[in-house]
Symmetry: C2
Subunit: 324 residues, 2 copies
Amino acid sequence: MTDLSMIEAAALRADGVVRRTPLLSSPFLDEIAGRPVYAKAEVLQHTGSFKFRGAWSALSALDEATRARGVLAYSSGNHAQGVARAAALFGVPSTIIMPRDAPLMKIDNTRALGAEVVLYDRAGGESREAIGAAISDARGVTLIKPYDEPQVIAGQGTCGLEIAVQAAEAGVAQATVLTCCGGGGLTAGIALALEGHAPGMTVRPVEPEGFDDTAQSLAAGTRLGHGHVEAGFCDAILTGMPGEITFPILERLCGPGIVVTEAEVRAAMREAANRLKLVVEPGGAVALAAALYHGDALAPGPVICTVSGGNVDPAAFAAVLTGA
Amino acid sequence: MTDLSMIEAAALRADGVVRRTPLLSSPFLDEIAGRPVYAKAEVLQHTGSFKFRGAWSALSALDEATRARGVLAYSSGNHAQGVARAAALFGVPSTIIMPRDAPLMKIDNTRALGAEVVLYDRAGGESREAIGAAISDARGVTLIKPYDEPQVIAGQGTCGLEIAVQAAEAGVAQATVLTCCGGGGLTAGIALALEGHAPGMTVRPVEPEGFDDTAQSLAAGTRLGHGHVEAGFCDAILTGMPGEITFPILERLCGPGIVVTEAEVRAAMREAANRLKLVVEPGGAVALAAALYHGDALAPGPVICTVSGGNVDPAAFAAVLTGA
């Protein structure tokens, strides 16, 4: 089970490889929110999302002989790119199982980063887990799960260590920390890191409307699924149910989940472009949307939100910018 | 005259206020350029461009009584926002003279940052210098020139100090450093900083086609103007002639200027969005365009380019993204 010492060990293995992303702000965002807003710009991480942290952590924790045989991952696109890039940096092969209807940029990037991409049809009932198990057995490669994997959670937690330091530099000790939440790997990692290094902060997971399995599960005190096919505007964070390993951490450390609308996500993407000069994909903008438009649900005081990832097809991004 | 000690003093005054922007990279950009490319992401600076550095340097160097009377600037938009924000942080009034046809976002932001904006008609022959002198005389405020001002150059030079440190962290000692060049304030400041802190680097100013007064002046060994009205796609860097103070610094320290086409600038803006997740305005993308598409003009080895600013109207940016 991931704990603070595992996150600190992951940070040591990440030193000089994983980027320390900036904590940004803008007086224009503060004015919209009516409070200080800080954005942890993980779109600037390698491969455009925080997922590289977890991938690097997991690969760097493998023994050399195991790692050399190669790794396998299933992902809608950001974990895919993170694992592909980490594998390429280690010089080991990677196989990534991706849904056929993932954003084209994510599929193209994963291939260009050196992975073998296996596409599957999620609407047709194919199971990525079953495909993955078959490949893993046949090739002797190691599966790197996207969130229910202690070393992946530890890697995402390094983002939380940075938030603690950067918030302290900005003079912020008490804050609400809003996270983009799919399976809960980033949320769990940040919550564990802040429990140890910034106990005055409370983590609140944010999800898009219709895919609020984490909010519902936190409210019910047990893991619930929304039962949807995992496709939609916020493609990166549309997991069906909180993770087995992540959920107990969220339940122990996080406040209630927050749910944002697609219109709020689009508005947050525009503000991120105009005010922070960042390209953010829909799933990466949900926490900023909550910071800007759900102040009523938050405790008073500063808010820190993760902004990640940034892998959005240019035409889709342009349509959001122009309000089309 | 600006020298290294003035830049280092400006860096001390900037500590805790000016952002240390990241030096970013992407394997996709390296592949296009055929060499390692590093992008100094000054779009992430306060107000979306490096201009805040020079503005903060100039205002923080004024004695308190002088500063309290207020400041004045003329600018097509990025220096405007930098001075407005710096003045607001000091709690002193600012007046900014801007061309009526500047990008709307730049005019709106400058007002929203607290400045009084005076619009003038540059095509109609009004002189911003004359308007500025009249206001400065009448109000007793201090003019902060956009580039021909030693403390402004010193402030821009703090970007060069960071490049020296960050390049060393990346293991880069020898490199070509490409700068977005208008009046030459950033170029001069960076060249002075690197002369002292990274003598293995050579600065090359980059300009858009049709507005290459610096390249022509460097080739001729004397200041030449292109004689155009200062309006065009790369609005931020369309000065008519190199500065009186900046040019001798460029002549002493820089290699030949590089000229990029509008098509190359548009392509670089798309790459910055897709690969670096940054929103970059046309004038801010010229150095990246040179890094990606003018390798033949560069010495072998790594290239470092400034990427600044990011103040582009959303519709204009969307049109570039979709190739419209």
